[in-house]
């Protein structure tokens, strides 16, 4: 796998609590992405970043925020977790015009 580390790998949290997922890369790639994977929906883009402090919304950004203060780190925050945010979250990285490389995923359960 490309040098992408997601943490935590598994998390159970209660409704209404804040949650932050971390993606760390060692490839120095410019672009970073957060996707969620749900049965019947494939992967849907939450947010992406095209540089330090440069981010934009994806298809399913409501309820999520992101930050990228360093090239290597891209954080996804659920300000107040809801049961609909139970999912598997994937981070990905790429350079311009290249394929994306994915992390191993974070399984989040909101109870």
């Amino acid at each position: 796998d490309a040098g992408i580390t997601q943490s935590p790998r598994h998390k159970v949290t209660e409704t209404g609590t804040p949650v932050t997922l971390r993606c760390h890369q060692t490839e120095n790639h410019r672009y970073m992405y957060w996707y969620r994977q749900d049965p019947g929906h494939g992967l849907r883009l939450i947010h992406y970043s095209y540089g330090v402090k440069d981010t934009d919304k994806g298809e399913v950004s409501d309820g999520y925020s992101v930050s990228r203060s360093k090239t290597e780190d891209f954080l996804l925050t659920l300000e107040s977790a809801t049961s609909s945010q139970t999912s598997v979250y994937f981070c990905a990285i790429s350079e311009l015009g290249t394929e994306a490389f994915f992390g191993q995923g974070t399984r989040l359960t909101v109870v």
Binding site: Y35, G42, Y48, F90, F102
Partner: protein, 116 residues
């Protein structure tokens, strides 16, 4: 807007037979097309891509894909399936006209089941 369709939720094939996993796309510019595979409880692994050039693209593990501009398709193929090919396959597209800063858009995935 970009979109990808994988019309089959599941494809079943016997080991040794050829397999095809279908994908059609819609973009406003030139398409950048990708296939990924996902094994249980794993991340997505890149298989192959089409950016420009030869319409037949060869990738990892003996897979290939044919780009057809007139039919806006990018079907994944393999001449002889293996049981170990059983997995979830995703087609993805990026709009080459607006690719700077844009992400891959994925289809919903097709489960490939290869029986022995």
């Amino acid at each position: 807007a970009q979109s990808v369709a994988q019309p089959e939720d599941q494809v079943n094939v016997a080991e040794g037979n050829p397999l095809t996993v279908k994908c059609t796309y819609s973009v406003s510019g030139n398409p950048y097309l990708f296939w990924y595979v996902q094994y249980p409880n794993r991340g997505l692994q890149f298989l192959l891509k089409y950016i420009t050039g030869d319409n037949l693209v060869k990738g990892s593990y003996g897979f290939e894909a044919e780009f057809n501009k007139s039919q806006t398709s990018f079907h994944l193929k393999k001449p002889s399936a293996l049981v170990s090919d059983s997995a979830l396959y995703f087609c993805a597209v990026r709009d080459g006209l607006h690719q700077a800063g844009t992400a891959l858009i994925f289809g919903k995935g097709t489960t490939l089941s290869v029986s022995s």
